[in-house]
């Protein structure tokens, strides 16, 4: 289940947020070896201070956070433009009212392992479907993101293949890409068909809370 938290509600949900920042440290610092800042086991960057929208993958049985993604409008500061401009040709950038950026897509070790017979894990599927659902609420056409080759395969398996834009580059230990994901009823239907998800993955109370802030 995907629990939504506005950046402005950080203190109210500090338990969840701390888990998220710890998982991000394990993924981006330890495994992907990106040059990210880790303090007291938590990875945070300046975009966390810009009041993004967080999608937290919540394990319903244990009540624990297992993964997360972060959304920011591309009309404002965002990672592709401000951190990874080299992924796009000079002078080219993504800036559109109908495109948001997803960043820091990550999950705790083990949460990416699919169940037998599945192509992608439950946490992965829910995060991807959740991003598409939020995009539909916000009236988006696409979500843009920076990711590695493994994510390209995962996205394909999730029924939401990426359209690669610009030129892939080696960042840290892995090849890194910028890509677009379509947001539409049809795209959501494809994700649900490919992942076997039925109905909304968004936790309804967190949706109404975020919509009323």
């Amino acid at each position: 289940m995907i629990f939504l938290v506005n950046g402005s509600e950080r203190d109210q949900y500090s338990y969840y947020m701390n888990s998220m920042h710890r998982i991000r440290a394990a993924v981006f610092h330890d495994r992907l070896q990106w040059e990210v800042k880790v303090e007291r086991g938590q990875e945070k960057d300046r975009f966390d201070e810009l009041n993004p929208l967080y999608l937290l993958s919540l394990d319903e049985e244990s009540g624990r956070i297992r993964g997360s993604a972060r959304l920011l409008p591309t009309t404002g500061p965002n990672m592709l433009r401000d951190v990874f401009p080299s992924l796009l040709p000079e002078d080219e950038f993504v800036e559109s009212a109908s495109i948001w950026e997803s960043s820091r897509f990550s999950m705790e070790p083990g949460a990416e392992t699919p169940l037998p017979g599945q192509l992608i894990s439950q946490v992965t599927a829910e995060l991807i479907a959740g991003i598409c659902e939020v995009g539909l609420i916000a009236g988006l056409t696409d979500v843009v993101s920076v990711f590695d080759a493994r994510m390209v395969r995962i996205m394909r398996a999730s029924g939401s293949p990426a359209t690669i834009i610009g030129k892939p580059q080696r960042i840290g230990a892995f090849m890194t890409y910028a890509g677009l994901f379509e947001v539409s009823d049809a795209a959501l239907a494809n994700i649900r068909r490919a992942t076997g998800l039925e109905g909304s993955v968004l936790e309804p109370q967190s949706v109404s809370r975020c919509l009323a802030a």
Binding site: N6, S8, E9, N51, P52, L53, L71, L72, P73, T75, G76, P77, L88, P89, E90, D91, E92, V94, E95, S96, A97, S98, W100, V134, I137, A138, G139, L140, T141, D142, T163, I164, I165, L180, S208, C210, L211, A212, A213
Partner: protein, 251 residues
């Protein structure tokens, strides 16, 4: 029914016509007439733009252009509603569009505020869309309607994208009208290539083949080009690019 009425009123390219209208705004007094035009086109009750942190323009108070009645504007000022308006507070906390129905009206102040707004003809339903600019500038773009709940739900589903896009175009036009930013006409290398082959009469598919990128990639660049050049369609973009001598043969 609301939606039916809307569909018959609304020509197919309402959004494109509206974007074209908003993007040609160069003076402040045109903002309000464009809001009114949008109101007519989409059968809205009201529309409102409020901009923050736009350089020297808004240091004293936010920039506002609204279609609300004089009565409501005066009442809003007199009672200093700027300070308690839950919409303004909510939009600064979230990047999601906010439906006014989602506010907790068990709070007496909030309930009274919305009741008074309704009485002053603001509209039965409303959504507010946050806009975030690159340099700390931001805006709140609101539209209201008088619709039954179910029709309103349908309406939002159908047109949220239009308003999300128009919100940013209004914001850009306010910035340009007040000389906070300059209109920009600079194409990237890839955008130039895509537009060059388009101007040579190639289809999107052919351009994709020539450039070795996907069809969706070409479409993406075309959208960016139209955004940069303030154009409503590809023909418009090619014409404008030729006029301003922007297209260079690929190296």
């Amino acid at each position: 029914m609301y939606i039916k009425r809307l569909n018959t009123n609304l020509e197919e390219d309402a959004l494109l016509t509206m974007i074209d209208r908003v993007d040609t705004i160069r003076k402040n007094n045109e903002i309000n007439s464009a809001l009114n035009e949008m109101k007519e086109k989409y059968s809205l009750k009201n529309a409102a733009y409020i901009g923050y942190n736009m350089g020297t323009l808004t240091q004293a108070e936010p920039y506002a252009s609204v279609t609300y009645s004089e009565e409501w504007i005066n009442q809003y000022r007199e009672k200093s509603y700027l300070e308690i308006d839950p919409v303004l507070q909510a939009v600064q906390k979230s990047i999601l569009p906010i439906d006014w129905q989602s506010f907790d009206i068990s709070n007496q102040k909030v309930r009274r505020f919305f009741n008074e707004a309704k009485d002053a003809g603001v509209g039965r339903n409303g959504i507010s869309i946050p806009v975030r600019g690159r340099t700390g500038d931001s805006a709140i773009f609101s539209i209201t309607a008088n619709a039954k709940d179910n029709d309103w739900f349908q309406f939002k589903r159908q047109f949220m994208r239009d308003f999300q896009v128009l919100a940013v175009h209004f914001h850009q036009s306010v910035l340009i009208s007040n000389n906070v930013i300059q209109p920009k006409f600079k194409l990237s290398h890839r955008e130039n290539e895509v537009l060059y082959w388009t101007a040579c009469g190639k289809t999107g598919e052919e351009s994709a083949l020539i450039l070795g990128i996907s069809k969706r990639g070409v479409r993406f660049h075309i959208y960016n080009i139209m955004h940069k050049l303030n154009c409503t369609n590809v023909t418009h973009a090619v014409a404008k690019a030729i006029y301003y001598n922007l297209i260079k043969p690929p190296r």
